[in-house]
Amino acid sequence: MSASKLSPSLAALMGAAAALTSAAHAQTAAEGGTTVGYRFNEYGEDSFDGAAIGSRERYKVYSQQFQLDTRLPNNAGLDVTATHEVMSGSSPWYVLRGADARPVQVLSGATIREHRNELRGSYTIDPGTASSTTYSASYSQERDYRAGALGIERSIPLNAALTLGTGASLSHDIIQPTDAALYDRVRHEEKNTFSAFGSLAWVIDKNSVLQAGVQLNHEDGYLSDPYKLVSVGSDILPDHRPGTRSNAAVLLRYRHAFAHPDAALHLDYRYAQDSWGVVSHTVDVGWYQRLGQGWQLIPALRYYSQQEARFYAPFFGVDEHRFFSSDYRLGTFGAFAASLNVRKRIARWEFSGGIERYHAAADYALGSADSAVPGVLSYTRGFVGLDYHFD
């Protein structure tokens, strides 16, 4: 587990945003059928190639997703998704001050092997319309981490072209680190997350739609990472972060359909800022190219940049800060990702597959980095999937 993970509350909320907005631009084809889907994903991080102590083999994750999406008789929709993940490998633990003050990353042993199970469900009234209401719930469990979330979303048509989306959710997380006595970790901690969002979707013309949204997120409780340590002077201390974190983000999303070539352009931008000082920019560009005979090719690019939290550094002097963390995810870095997906529809069956390469580095960040980020990583990820459409 990780304290800088995406909260299930926020995940549910933004899933809701996605669901809302298909209704928000009043797509007329309310799909009435049932679909079942399966995905197998493999994720592997590159081996650590910097100055390090410990295993250099980093994380691998194998995950399976199952989905049922169906219409109910009372003009409602039900969507149930189950996920099972198996994770293993080593991860950044803490950073030592090496020769010439260069950071030396200490990695945990490659003995971690965890499972995660997640169940997510949503019930939507009037799905596929501009005025829908969705109730959602999710539960995720690992050996050391449990999280439950509830959410509600509503879309309201303002006129023929504009749709307002709103939503809120709450989540409660329980953290019970493994080997707590052995490593003097916290035994039992909790945190709560409240999220809210609002969006406007605009049908610009018969080929394009635009969405603008704001999301707010507030976390309260234990937000440190119980598995990470920090080098402070001559001591090695537990990761120590503030007990609250507020985040605000602005989203812009644009879709444009082309007749020649038969394709759709996806452009997304997100700006986020939080009370820890982390500021980020994310740009996604995707091209959905139809090739005929049920084939579709989807190349995509992604760029991400963040500025570090106020209390991040690879290592600290004595009493330098009230809070301190050397988690690379709170440092300054940027990342480029490129992906290519393929889909093929044959009657009621739909096959899909794809690969993504993600490469992160401090040099890719917008602006300059105040501190080194030795743990920053790159990975390759692939998936294969199969869907069956009953109607």
């Binding site: 587990m1 995406l6 899933g15 996605a18 009043a26 080929n207």
Partner: protein, 74 residues
């Protein structure tokens, strides 16, 4: 401060959108908008996997589109 600026930027954009939306697209003109590849997230399962991978390795929580919950990261 930045949060306030972002909030007002979106509100302003919303007002501008409302002002621009004077020639609505008729229902019979929305065929392309209803296509699968014009959805915000055409493949929710894949979107969830993508966002879970990206944001479990990045420090700025929140994302565009659907994502998995829980943790499953390190």
């Amino acid at each position: 401060m930045g949060t306030n600026r972002a909030f007002f930027a979106v509100i302003t954009l919303g007002v501008l959108l409302a002002g621009c939306a004077s020639t609505p697209v008729q229902p019979w003109e929305r065929g392309r908008l209803a296509r699968w590849d014009m959805r915000w997230d055409p493949d929710p399962l894949q979107a969830a996997a993508n966002e879970h991978a990206h944001f479990s390795k990045e420090g700025s929580g929140g994302h565009i589109g659907a994502a998995g919950g829980g943790c499953g990261c390190n």
